[in-house]
């Protein structure tokens, strides 16, 4: 469904993403992990059109989408969340999602958008009270809204930049279950980004590890967690997370 080949991004002289290649099959959940600054969000930004790749190709359903304008990528069927939620505070929660339903699906009718929005809010477990304001949401609520906006665009591929900072253990587990449920109920393909291994390893089919913009490992979670390079990267940066991942997988 998605085939990324030799994707690179330079910021000035600095290489944030260095010739990364991977594929995602239909219906799969691919985990994308790596320490802070390893280039995960940059990869998402290039797939979704927010950034133009410096090199490489991105084929979605057989067609090249690298460098396409972000709204066109959305209309092709790729939805994304932002790592730091970016809600529209001047619109109600429901209107945020209606907007995505309307413009994300090629501007059919407001009614269809409303229906899509309510469905998306149900999926993430937010109420569709038309008066509920964004300002009433906490960190977990904002992440859910971010997800609902992406889902309302009816994506075939969802790029979830979750990096579950700001959430407690319980909320992280809930978020993981939610992604699982979303896949089960909608059948969409998901790439899930995270910087610690933690809960992600329970949910994904396959995981890919980045470090300094390079892919250092790829495979089933249990396999990757035992990879010496991955352990080295994680011991170097996030011991606790590596330990947690080890115990959880074991």
């Amino acid at each position: 469904m998605l085939a990324v080949t030799d994707l690179s991004k330079q910021f000035g002289g600095f290489t944030a993403v260095d010739r990364v290649s991977f594929t995602v099959g239909k219906g799969e959940i691919l985990g994308l992990i790596g320490p802070n600054g390893s280039g995960k969000s940059t990869i998402f930004n290039m797939i979704s059109g927010t950034l133009t790749p410096s090199g490489g190709a991105i084929a979605f359903e057989g067609r090249e989408i690298g460098g396409l304008a972000p709204h066109r990528v959305t209309n092709r069927g790729i939805g994304r969340t932002f790592q730091i939620p970016r809600p529209f505070r001047r619109l109600s929660i429901l209107d945020n999602v209606i907007l995505a339903g309307f413009y994300g699906q090629g501007r059919h009718s407001k009614k269809a958008a409303q229906a899509a929005a309510e469905q998306a809010l149900d999926l993430v477990g937010l109420p569709h009270d038309p008066h509920a304001k964004v300002d009433g949401l906490g960190a977990a609520g904002l992440k859910k809204l971010e997800l609902a906006k992406a889902l309302a665009t009816a994506p075939k591929l969802l790029l979830a930049d979750e990096s579950l900072g700001g959430l407690d253990e319980h909320e992280m587990n809930q978020a993981a279950d939610m992604l699982k449920r979303i896949r089960r109920e909608t059948g969409i393909t998901i790439i899930w980004v995270e910087h610690i291994m933690g809960v992600l390893m329970r949910v994904v089919d396959r995981v890919m590890v980045l470090d300094h913009g390079e892919k250092i490992a790829e495979g089933p979670p249990s396999h990757v967690a035992r990879d010496p390079r991955v352990i080295e990267v994680y011991l170097g940066t996030d011991t606790q997370a590596a330990d947690a991942a080890q115990t959880r997988i074991a």
Binding site: S48, G49, T50, A69, P70, H71, T74, N75, G79, R80, F82, R86, P87, F88, R89, R90, L91, D95, N96, I98, L99, A100, F102, Y103, G104, Q105, G106, R107, K110, A113, K149, A150, T153
Partner: protein
């Protein structure tokens, strides 16, 4: 049905007014207020989404001068020349705004680029003074028969009052159409976060361009009407930077986020200008701009939603407080 009743009554009263009370001077002031209200409403259609244009004086000037020049030089009826003026204004709007939107020139930078447009239109009018009269102003030729629908010239103020009222009302209707459209969702989103709006599928440049062209064309219509009504235009009265600033001022004072805010702004600014003119005569020329400037700063600091917006908020607050109470007690 009930919701329409107050509007219908207000509308009927406004239409009936000149037939009941038609003292020329108040009627003249009302026509002027209606035309400027329409111009300010046109500005606010995009201004309310953070697209602060200081180029609208330019659009107004284009509307006025294109109409007058085509009448005097080509004998073209305003019924034809006004659409052409609107088209010219739309074209200029696209030429200026498209590169801005494409290259993400927003906020203060957008205001500065559009400010240049006001300046350029003013310069062009002065530079071509052989045709436009330059800073001395310009007068469309009187039609021989006095009042004429073909020439869109009317001697009596009642007719002008009704035309201005109709156009003003159309402006308010357009305001509400935008308010209820999906375009408003998109523009609200864009005004907060262009990347996030694009990720939701919004074609950011296109949505901004649409509202800008709409606003520019409406403003040009206001300029053309002003020209036909006053039968005299000059760069100071229908174009240039000071007119652009006056639009911003009036809308901010009246209320940028409410439908009748620009109208309230027009009433205040025009009455203020009249009072200054009557009490100080020509000695006060330019004072109004000074007063505007000071008031603008005060309003932006102390009453950013404007007079009408502030009043409506104050009225809504006790209701919101009571509505929030049960929720608070539950929590």
């Amino acid at each position: 049905m009930k919701r329409w009743l107050p509007w219908t009554i207000a509308g009927a009263l406004l239409v009936a007014l000149p037939f009941v009370y038609n003292a020329p001077y108040p009627l003249h002031i009302m026509v002027v207020i209606l035309i400027w209200s329409f111009a300010y409403t046109s500005w606010s259609i995009m201004g309310r989404f953070g697209l602060v244009s200081l180029g609208h004086g330019g659009f107004m000037g284009i509307g006025a001068y294109v109409t007058a020049l085509l009448w005097n030089h080509a004998g073209m009826s305003p019924w034809l020349s006004i659409p052409m003026a609107l088209l010219a204004s739309a074209t200029i709007a696209i030429l200026v705004a498209y590169p801005c939107f494409r290259f993400r020139i927003t906020g203060h930078y957008f205001a500065l680029v559009t400010l240049a447009l006001s300046g350029i239109v003013l310069q062009v009018i002065t530079a071509t003074r052989d045709h436009t009269g330059g800073s001395l102003g310009y007068t469309p030729e009187r039609h021989q028969g006095g009042s004429s629908i073909y020439a869109l010239q009317f001697i009596d103020k009642e007719t002008w009052y009704l035309i201005a009222l109709g156009v003003w009302a159309a402006g308010i209707v357009i305001w509400y159409r935008v308010e209820r459209s999906m375009m408003r969702y998109a523009l609200e989103a864009i005004s907060e976060d262009e990347d996030a709006a694009a990720a939701a599928g919004v074609h950011v440049t296109w949505e901004k361009l649409k509202v800008t062209v709409l606003s520019a064309m409406m403003t040009a219509l206001a300029g053309a009407l002003y020209c036909q009504y006053q039968m005299f235009i000059s760069p100071d009265t229908v174009s240039g930077i000071s007119i652009s600033l006056q639009m911003v001022f009036a809308v901010v004072v009246g209320g940028i986020y409410v439908s009748l805010g620009p109208t309230i702004g027009a009433i205040i600014t025009i009455l203020l200008a009249e009072v200054l003119r009557i009490s100080f005569g020509t000695a006060a020329v330019g004072y109004d701009n000074l007063v505007y400037g000071v008031l603008l700063v005060l309003f932006i600091i102390f009453l950013p939603k404007g007079i009408l917006g502030g009043l409506m908020e104050a009225r809504a607050r006790p209701q919101a407080a009571t509505a929030a109470q049960p929720k608070a007690s539950r929590a």
